[in-house]
């Protein structure tokens, strides 16, 4: 790093420019990562916390099952439960409804919010607590935001129910999840049959046997996220943006170091003529890239962390090691890959060109 550090100091204006660009790109990638994870969680966090590894949907007429289009055939739970290799098969109802309640304080009148309604049988472990007819378990963040308390009477899809518990029910299709009994769920959503079966399988091979016996289409829990309306499209476009930003970063860093290397090709030839090995110059050049990428990336990440922590209070935005440090590391690696385009250029410098200005 003998030359690298001195170049960084001497040409600090230029490197500051590149560092700023790296910082801005990192800022965008980290923010996008937080948003992607946040929106993803808003879409499926209620599914992620289900004690199940597979979900069985009604066999779709189209290509792939959806939560909104699925209604299990009658008796599906019993048939699936009898299949060898199925440890448990519990019906789950999913849907949406309006939750309305009388607002307290001086502002009288009523308030209402859209929620996702999950119905689980009384004996099942799908809800945080055992469910009961006419009673609901509401999401903790939702309770914090609305001021709803345990014991309060509210209207769910027009039906009067009581808040039974405040739990980490998660979120589904961007709405906070309210758990209730299957019967109440049927009344509220006017559905005839549960939406899916939450399965615990001894081996993934049992999925096909369930589908044959119960007339269903079984997906792994993770695959079932794609059955939430809009989830795949949203995640795909966000990840596409992130991928494009990473490609742009690699190109920007690559272009910068290509120009930089071309400009100092004569210097490199002189140092080679002095007896430096190719490895010496390559190490020096890559160390320089690492410094710029790490310093610029860290600055961008720090700003993104601050902005993200603020954003997480108001928007579906997730701040975690996976959404902050991982994209930072990814940016550094991608930038290094970009700077690798100069490896051949640095390695192929001919020390002979140091002699004679004529050539």
């Amino acid at each position: 790093m003998f030359i690298a550090l001195r170049d960084l100091r001497f040409a600090r204006g230029r490197f500051a420019l590149l560092g700023t660009v790296v910082a801005l790109l990192t800022l965008m990638v980290v923010m996008l990562s937080g948003l992607t994870a946040g929106l993803g969680a808003a879409g499926v966090s209620a599914l992620q916390r289900l004690p199940a590894d597979h979900l069985a949907f009604q066999r779709p007429t189209g290509q792939s099952p959806t939560f909104t289009g699925s209604s299990l055939p009658a008796g599906a739970a019993a048939k699936a439960g009898a299949v060898p290799g199925v440890e448990s098969a519990r019906p789950l109802g999913t849907g949406a409804a309006k939750l309305a309640w009388a607002a307290g304080g001086e502002r009288h009148g009523s308030r209402s919010e859209s929620v996702s309604v999950f119905g689980a049988g009384p004996g099942s472990d799908l809800a945080p607590r055992p469910t009961a007819d006419g009673r609901i378990q509401i999401n903790r963040t939702f309770a914090d935001d609305t001021g709803l308390r345990v014991g309060q009477r509210v209207a769910l899809g027009g039906r009067t129910v009581t808040v039974d518990a405040i739990e980490d029910t998660g979120s589904f299709a961007h709405l906070p999840v309210v758990f209730t009994s299957l019967t109440t769920w049927q009344q509220v959503t006017r559905a005839q049959q549960p939406t899916v079966l939450a399965l615990r399988l001894a081996s993934p091979a049992a999925a096909a046997r369930v589908d044959a016996a119960a007339g269903t289409r079984t997906l792994t829990l993770a695959k079932s996220y794609g059955a939430v309306d809009g989830y795949s499209a949203e995640q795909t476009s966000l990840n596409l943006m992130r991928g494009l930003l990473l490609i742009v970063s690699a190109l920007v860093v690559g272009a910068y170091f290509t120009v930089w290397t071309v400009q100092r090709a004569h210097d490199l030839a002189v140092v080679r003529a002095m007896g430096a090995s190719r490895g010496y110059l390559l190490r020096d050049a890559l160390a320089q890239a690492v410094v710029v990428l790490v310093v610029g990336g860290a600055a961008g990440t720090a700003v993104a962390f601050g902005a993200g922590s603020l954003a997480a209070r108001a928007a579906p935005y997730q701040v975690s090691a996976g959404t902050v440090l991982l994209p930072f590391a990814l940016m550094t690696v991608v930038g290094l890959v970009g700077s690798m385009v100069t490896v051949r250029r640095v390695a192929s410098v001919d020390p002979l060109t140091a002699l004679g200005a004529a050539r």
Binding site: F2, I3, R6, D7, R9, F10, A11, H266, D267, V270, V271, R272, A273, M274, G275, A276, S277, R278, Y280, P351, L352, A354, L355, G356, A357, A358
Partner: protein, 229 residues
């Protein structure tokens, strides 16, 4: 501490044919001796230095640098020989823009792949003082005159205590007086450091500071044009 070239031959492709630049050339320079090589532009003077400094292997013939047969060395081994036994001074001083005068010299120690030691700093200080740059060690190339830059180049070439000092037209970018100063300095340091020196110049007056003057013509060194002393 010497340089020997024996029947060195080298050619470059020139269209369909091959142009012979060095044609069975011989040159022996003892430690502490400075030889000036003159010759018209394009006669192969830089090529001669490139072969002597292991930048180009000869097609045939022997190159012995400080007692080491360099003829067959390539890549990393040649780089190592250059690092340890060869000092180059280039036409334009060819200093690195971001390095101070002191760092230009320390770089020569650093490329060996070890940490810069106190002894290296002391030697850099001493050499810069020797070439008349005491007090200007912290300056970068753009803060030095052309003559001063070339002096830094000379000091840098001596940093690794080379066996051979190879100098390519060191005065071409300098005015007459500065050029004569640099040539005088070269003659002095070659003697003091006991290094085998070859300086290329097409200025016969400048060449007169050397112990011997030879001319490169038709790929060979002709007998001394005139003896300096």
């Amino acid at each position: 501490m010497s340089l020997e070239l024996e029947s060195v031959t080298l050619g470059y492709p020139d269209g369909e044919r091959r142009r012979i630049i060095l044609d069975g050339m011989d040159l022996a320079v003892a430690g502490g001796e400075l030889v000036a090589v003159t010759g018209p532009s394009g006669s192969g003077k830089s090529t001669l230095l490139a072969v002597a400094g292991t930048l180009t292997p000869p097609e045939s013939g022997r190159v012995v640098v400080g007692g080491v047969d360099a003829g067959s060395l390539r890549g990393g081994a040649a780089a190592r020989l250059r690092r340890e036994r060869v000092g180059f001074v280039f036409q334009q001083a060819n200093l690195l823009g971001s390095l101070t005068a002191r760092d230009q010299l320390l770089l020569a120690a650093h490329i060996g792949g070890r940490r810069v030691r106190a002894a290296d700093r002391a030697r850099a200080e001493e050499l810069l003082g020797r070439v008349g740059l005491a007090g200007k060690e912290g300056r970068r190339p753009h803060q030095l005159s052309g003559g001063e830059r070339q002096r830094v180049g000379v000091a840098r070439a001596l940093m690794s205590r080379p066996a051979v000092l190879l100098v390519d037209e060191p005065t071409s970018a300098l005015d007459r007086e500065r050029g004569a100063d640099v040539m005088a300095l070269l003659a002095e340091v070659v003697r003091e450091q006991g290094v085998a020196g070859v300086v290329v110049t097409h200025d016969l007056e400048n060449a007169s500071v050397a112990d011997r003057v030879v001319a490169l013509r038709d790929g060979r060194l002709t007998s001394p044009v005139r003896s300096a002393r």
